[in-house]
């Protein structure tokens, strides 16, 4: 394949670049002439949805992004949050949905590579990764292949790079049959006085190309990611990039070594739209121009045209503005790590983006309009209809114990061990909690007691029924999971996955979900510091479930006072905090209703955010006194599943004594803001007293002990059986 530089600009060519006629007209008005083919490619790369956020910007602005702990909010490679002692955590989540559906291993691998690069570009050493995955129905013919490929790709990249994968989610729903979701999160640790930004400063300074060579892989990838799929998607395989984690690991070490020398003025990784996007962002942010000489770009294929070089998405590359006097030192570091180092351009004072190739000027464009002044839309939207109320009497009685076994062994609630055992969860030697609990926890290297907690959450079922409540719930659940370890939630990153914004009903989901996310973040003091929007997630007109993934970070001041989900000992008291008088009431959109009765109905459980905060603050405080010996939040599957997971994690049984009813709602209701925890018999009065002081509802619901789980009047089930059922589904499914 070779794309020449000289095709004539036609309407079809413009459309093939994903540009609407009015956007093309805007280009003509802006430059006063017909663009060259390379220029058309550059506009297409910068103005597509993926890079420009043109449909979402208006709404993203409404999210709370500030707080005393926030050092850098959205707009950089990643968000930066202060964790005290001169240290900060740098993190972001980003989607790689479309590439992963087309080529699961490489799509997922390069998703991980991209997010790791975003983090270490800012001077942070990556210390934790997570991923949020959504696949189609388990019985869809493509699902097994996608799960196997995506999981292997995430492991293949993250393990080799050397970052522990400490958390994540994986769910199935037929609405992802034609469009899986792969959202990759990474966090790194940096010193607050050594954070690196992408804003170029200074005129006439060298622009340096670092890392791997440029090939034709991924040409047009960002444009592909900004369109819905049709029946010919398999033809898009060549637009998926190929990852090389070995080079990325070398690039990490070389970058950190170089940053320590003080040579770096500005740095930007080459992600979507590669050389184009990184150069334009650096220049536009610094109000400078950039001139690139493509003859100097290290290439690994012959006769590449300017168009191809500017749109290549070859991985493991960086662009940097360097202090000229440090050039020799910088080059030596990159040579040591076997990486390319080439001066490919310079900064200028004219705010133009100029691209030279074989003595010809291939592009000469105004850099601001390409970058931070790209088009923006206020797309029409319609508010989603409120779901009809659920008639509780319409739900037939079920055996509670049988229903529990069914739920813990269901595709969505069964153990993900098959998945996370393919990830290196222990590398770096700092992992305090690996997947399987409420949040992953990693201690802060160099500090005797501090640790960071990470959790990623969203319930797309809730969001589909009510995007506003679903958006709120995603934030609240993330905040709750962090709290359940004893962490103070600091900030979050959002990965907003939706269908086509050109459809008012999808845009309505998007708008309402953001309103919910924003409301929850404001009330909980949990700002959004970075994020990513992925639209056009639909195939042949069928959109995915609205999926605003929220990944949060929390700080544990002393990890010796951290909570885990497994029961600590026999003979302890089990308590339920934050629950209504009947413990559980809400079955609308619950896992129980769907997986036991085959019905997805009713409104999702509403979240009372003030209550959420009050209960969470109480539980966190209790963990820090050391009196809460095990803690778990109630989420999918309600109280029964929460208690079962605590039993599975410890091998210790439990008896639960409902004070009134034995109904399904008590055990499987998904009422929000609830935590199950344990304490010793001698502490129980003190704990109840503390709850009264905090005005938080707290019920003694049972005790730990034995090898069986007994829920009220239901027949006892051995913990061994629950565990085998819980662990069994995934490996059995993957074996086919």
């Amino acid at each position: 394949m070779n794309i020449p530089n000289t095709p004539r600009i036609t309407d079809d060519l413009v459309a093939a670049h994903g540009l609407k006629p009015e956007e093309y007209q805007r280009i003509l008005d802006l430059i006063g002439r017909e663009p060259t083919f390379t220029e058309l490619g550059i506009f297409s790369a910068m103005w597509n949805e993926h890079c420009s956020y043109k449909s979402s910007k208006k709404w993203l602005r409404t999210l709370p992004t500030e707080g005393p702990q926030v050092i850098q909010g959205p707009g950089e490679n990643a968000g930066v949050v202060d964790i005290g002692d001169g240290q900060c955590v740098v993190f972001k989540m980003e989607s790689h949905n479309h590439p992963s559906y087309i080529e699961p291993y490489q799509g997922a691998a390069t998703g991980v590579g991209g997010i790791l690069r975003d983090v270490f570009t800012m001077g942070a050493r990556p210390i934790a990764a997570m991923n949020a995955l959504r696949f189609g129905s388990p019985d869809h013919p493509k699902t097994r292949h996608l799960v196997a490929g995506v999981v292997a790709g995430i492991g293949g990249y993250g393990n080799s790079f050397g970052v522990p994968t400490v958390g994540g989610e994986l769910n199935f729903d037929p609405r992802y049959n034609g469009n899986c979701l792969v959202n990759a999160f990474a966090a790194g640790l940096a010193r607050t006085d050594a954070i690196f930004y992408s804003k170029a400063e200074g005129v006439g300074l060298p622009v340096v190309y670092l890392g791997a060579k440029t090939g034709r892989d991924g040409v047009g990838g960002a444009t592909m990611a900004s369109a819905e799929f049709d029946a010919d998607i398999d033809e898009k395989r060549p637009t998926v990039q190929v990852g090389d984690p070995f080079t990325e690991k070398c690039l990490l070490e070389a970058c950190l070594e170089l940053m320590a020398t003080g040579a770096v003025i500005a740095i930007q990784d080459m992600g979507a739209a590669g050389l184009t996007c990184s150069a334009v962002e650096m220049g536009a942010k610094g109000d400078l121009g950039i001139e690139l000489d493509l003859d100097k770009v290290p290439v690994r294929e012959e006769r590449m045209s300017a168009y191809e070089m500017m749109l290549s998405e070859s991985q493991e590359r960086m662009l940097m503005v360097l202090r000229p006097e440090k050039e020799t030192e910088a080059e030596a570091i990159f040579r040591k790590w076997g990486l390319d180092f080439a001066i490919v351009g310079r900064t200028t004072d004219d705010r133009r983006f100029r691209v030279l190739h074989q003595g010809e000027e291939m592009a000469n464009l105004p850099i601001k309009e390409l970058g931070d002044e790209a088009p923006e839309y206020d797309r029409p939207w319609v508010a989603p209809a409120a779901p009809a109320a659920l008639d509780p009497s319409s739900i037939p009685e079920t055996d509670i114990a049988d229903a529990l076994l069914k739920l813990v062994g269901s595709p969505d609630l069964s153990s993900r061990r098959w998945v996370w055992e393919q990830y290196d969860t222990l590398i770096q030697g700092n992992s305090l909690q690996i997947p399987g609990g409420d949040a992953g926890v990693v201690r802060v290297e160099g500090h005797p007691t501090k640790a960071l907690a990470f959790s990623s959450d969203v319930n797309p079922r809730y969001c589909e029924a009510d995007p506003y409540e679903g958006g709120k719930q995603a934030v609240a659940e993330c905040w709750r999971n962090l709290t359940a370890t004893g962490a103070e939630p600091l900030a979050a990153t959002d990965n907003l996955n939706f269908g086509s914004p050109e459809r008012p009903e999808i845009m309505g989901q998007f708008v309402r979900a953001i309103e919910g996310v924003g409301e929850a973040c404001r009330t909980l003091g949990f700002p959004i510091v970075s994020g990513n929007v992925s639209l056009y997630n639909e195939t042949l007109g069928e959109p995915i479930l609205p999926t605003p993934t929220i990944a949060g970070v929390g700080l544990i001041p002393d990890w010796s006072r951290m909570a885990r989900i497994g029961f600590a000992a026999e003979g302890e008291v089990i308590l339920l905090a934050g629950a209504p008088e009947d413990w559980g009431t809400h079955l609308g959109q619950s896992a129980y209703l769907r997986d036991v009765h085959g019905r997805a109905e009713g409104p999702p459980p509403p979240v009372d955010l003030a209550h959420e905060k009050q209960v969470g603050d109480f539980v966190r405080g209790l963990i820090r006194t050391g009196m809460a010996t095990a803690v778990h939040d109630c989420s999918d599957g309600g109280l029964a599943v929460a208690v079962a997971e605590m039993a599975i994690a410890s091998g210790i049984g439990a008896r639960i004594h409902p004070n009134g009813g034995n109904s399904a709602a008590v055990f499987f209701g998904e009422d929000q803001s609830r935590y199950v925890f344990t304490c010793t018999r001698q502490d129980v009065d003190k704990v109840l007293e503390k709850a009264r002081e905090a005005d938080v509802s707290l019920f003694v619901i049972g005790e730990t002990g034995g090898s069986e789980l007994k829920l009220g009047k239901a027949h006892a089930i051995s913990v061994e059986d629950i565990k085998n059922t819980h662990e069994g589904w995934f490996p059995r499914y993957m074996q086919g």
Binding site: S160, K249, W337, E421, Q422, L426, I427, R443
Partner: protein
């Protein structure tokens, strides 16, 4: 006791290993880059885990041909203790310092989990901190840990007590022949093992079963 850690591009458990050596011995190990042709005067040389050269070609194959490995082989011949963990084990096999080969896991998948190890030979400089046949906990994290040796070689290393660690209690994670997890050379001064004792040496790791290996190798126990 002084130690050195070999550094090669793509190794990624070097920081874990450096931390473990420092915590157990109180001294930071010397760091030796792949292009060095001479090693400092140390008592223990460690090749840590990771993906040297991306595991491209074959795990450890490219690393084994770097200049520093010639220097390691010379030191090993002089009786200096050498320990290779995970990718380090693969490199020692590729160098010919240990017999056998490591194939892809029987599951064909990467596996990271805790296993049980039996100390099959507690009479080596690396394992004397353990009781004979002691069962210890230890994590593994690898894609290619399925140990294999020709029948004759296997018979010899089994007969000579060169198998020092075995996966125990049905926890073999990779299909290794005879549940072999770690072996020494005939001189007993070169150890290769797939599991990661460096990730189980302090309370934060949830256990300290890996510590005695470092204490033995660093002569912290008699």
């Amino acid at each position: 006791m002084k130690s050195a850690v070999i550094q090669l591009p793509g190794l990624n458990r070097d920081r874990d290993m450096i931390a473990a050596l420092k915590k157990v011995s109180g001294n930071a190990p010397a760091l030796v880059w792949q292009t060095e042709t001479e090693l400092p005067d140390v008592d223990l040389i460690v090749i840590p885990g990771g993906f040297s050269y991306g595991d491209y070609l074959r795990c450890g194959a490219i690393a084994a041909r770097m200049p520093v490995m010639k220097a390691v082989a010379e030191k090993a011949a002089q009786g200096v203790m050498v320990m290779g963990v995970c990718n380090g084990f693969q490199i020692l096999l590729e160098c010919g310092l240990l017999p056998g080969a490591l194939m892809r896991n029987a599951s064909l998948r990467f596996v990271c989990r805790e296993v049980k190890l039996q100390v099959a030979n507690a009479n080596t400089a690396f394992t004397r901190g353990y009781a004979p046949n002691q069962i210890i906990r230890c994590p593994v994290a690898h894609h290619d840990g399925n140990y294999f040796a020709e029948p004759e070689t296997l018979k010899r290393i089994e007969g000579e007590g060169q198998v020092v660690f075995r996966y125990a209690q049905g926890t073999n994670p990779n299909g290794s022949i005879n549940d072999i997890a770690g072996i020494v050379n005939t001189g007993g001064n070169v150890l290769g093992l797939m599991p990661h004792p460096e990730n189980l040496i302090e309370a934060a790791h949830g256990g300290t079963d890996g510590r005695a290996l470092f204490e033995s190798a660093l002569s912290k126990v008699a």
